[in-house]
Amino acid sequence: MDNLIALLIAAPLLGAAVLLCGGRALDRVGHWLGTVLAAASFVIGAVLFVDMLGKGADARTMHQHLFTWVPVAGFKADMGFQLDQLSMTFVLLISGVGTLIHLYSVGYMAHDERRRRFFGYLNLFLAAMLLLVLADNYLLLYMGWEGVGLASYLLIGFWQHKPSAATAAKKAFLVNRVGDMGLSIAIMLMFTTFGTFAFGGVFGAADGASEGKLTAISLMLLLAACGKSAQVPLQSWLGDAMEGPTPVSALIHAATMVTAGVYLITRSSAVFNGAPNAQLVVVVVGAVTLIFGAIVGCAKDDIKKSLAGSTMSQIGYMILAAGLGPIGYVFAIMHLVTHGFFKAGLFLGAGSVMHGMNDEVDMRKYGGLRRYMPVTFVTFGLGYLAIIGFPGLSGFFSKDKIIEAAFAKGGTEGWILGAVTLLGAAITAYYMTRMMLMTFFGEERWRHAETRSPDAPSAEPAAAGRGAHDEPHPHESPWIMTIPMIVLAVGSVGAGAFFGIGNRFLNWLEPVTGHSEGHSPVSAGVVTTATIVLLLVGVGIAYLQYGRRPVPAVAPRGSLLTRAARRDLLQDDFNHVVLVRGGEHLTRSLVYVDHSLVDGVVNGTAASFGGLSGRLRKVQNGYARSYALSMFGGTAVVVAATLLMRAV
């Protein structure tokens, strides 16, 4: 059984190699090949899962050693895999959601002539992501980490003819690189501290290491997590990453890749547990991002960017929970899995809406779509109820646990974190309700979109005639797209209850991450009640603003906060002023120093030797008589010196 682990990765990797190298001959079948190989990976994962369930809780970890990758003297890095309950959870999530999204993409990308390449990249992503979660040492994990970064770059910029997509891809790659540097530094620190970076070696030795070293490693790992999971301060790329095709946003930038940071922190729990200060930083990062993403999500009119803000916010919940230590790890992963279901479902729903609306993303040009897209409406609605934490659905179980764990942190911190998570829940309810109302309810703003536009270009007489032709005809997506949405909606509804009731998920994951019950100052019932009340408040405010009143087709100016939030709370402006300008000034001053000081010394030396030799050259004037004079002079000097020496 252990030998099947490599096949999990090999299947999609084979798909990527065949599809990317195969050429146009595979254009007709490429998408089905990719989907089948993704499904194969899921089937292998399921077989391993069943096998794992048959074993005792302590005997579930499987290992497979392929070969020694880097043998250097006494040190070696293995190409080895480790499949335990944590990896298993990820494998099923990645390959399961991955397969569904492959299926969806068959329909979504049907008219794209580069569909084969798209599926090649998707398979490449699956292989890299599975490598990331299956690695049994940090170096191999790093390889997967870079692999998903590459796949993310390729897929964000898939429509590379759009300058905005190409720029967004570059931005994502560069911001991720900052985080990746953190991971590589963490690996180097581990090597100097422990002499190994195999999981077993590092976690075994973590108890004996000094807290300072553990804190340094933890902070570098956190930097890596911030980059990959779009947490403050490296969050700026996720909104722009929505330039990619919607299935990519669903798979990579909602369900799987962006949660790699949570995986990294949970996997490294032994290191983080020994560094309470670093854990505090993790919690702060999570809390700040939670609110940050939620505020951005409230202001965006672009349905995908609003969902991206929401993703950021929900991952903030997970990071926060992971930072709480053993009381939170399990719930971080549980929220990760339920989030994987409902957020992927929401993104696929958004993609389905765009598909029926001529790729329009502005929610102000939607409205009343529930009559035209019933399946999308129902699945999106179930995802909506799940994410806001409607009692009984997935988000309710997982988010509630995180809020309880935040209170259980204890002391003032506990109260602050609890308040922040509760506030986040309220804002989540607000922006998701806003999205729901703007998209599926209200008047059909798309109907008059062209004729109503006040600044229609009069110079283009054809514009009026074309308007009626361009009016979107919203329609339900084909079955190949709705089936994945239905499956994910079922997950959104049932996963939370399945995991939460009877602590099934807790018992499953506890042997890997450890768990301790915190002592919450408020009872679970009070927390749940408060969550539901705040949820209703959020929904209510959104209903008053967007349900009762008509939604203006052109965004109103809005308050200062709204305008800032539309600009992603000025994150790009901040980066521009501090990093870009600062960098420019730094390089400019360095260039100045280089030109004046360094070049000055070098050129000055050269010039002085040049001048000296120019003067010396004049001695060689070619006149025989002048040479004769210098000979006589020299002889006279020698004779005089000889005589003087004798006299002395």
Partner: protein, 99 residues
């Protein structure tokens, strides 16, 4: 007669020769001045030979004459060919060996 006077004469002749080499431009004259310097040396050698009472100086004088004869042959040949090529016997005109 005191042989020291010969030395005075030798140094006078040498000085005249050296001054001629430095001052004159005509290659033939410069050449003759070089001969003058050589012969001044010869005179000094012979005078020293007389002073010390041995023949070493006289032998060296012979060597000098032989060398001078050879030098005349080579030198005059150079001067003649230079004159043929450039229609000038000025040493300053032959100042091409410079940067």
């Amino acid at each position: 007669m005191n042989p020291v006077y010969y030395l005075y004469l030798a140094s006078l002749l040498f000085t005249i020769g050296a001054a001629g080499v430095l001052i004159r431009r005509n290659a033939i004259v410069v050449f003759m001045c070089v001969e003058l310097m050589l012969n001044a040396c010869n005179l000094a050698f012979v005078a020293f030979s007389r002073l010390h009472g041995n023949l070493d100086g006289q032998i060296i004088a012979f060597f000098t004459m032989v060398v001078a004869a050879a030098e005349v042959v080579v030198g005059l040949a150079i001067i003649v060919s230079m004159f043929r090529a450039r229609h000038s016997a000025s040493v300053d005109d032959a100042s091409l060996m410079k940067l």
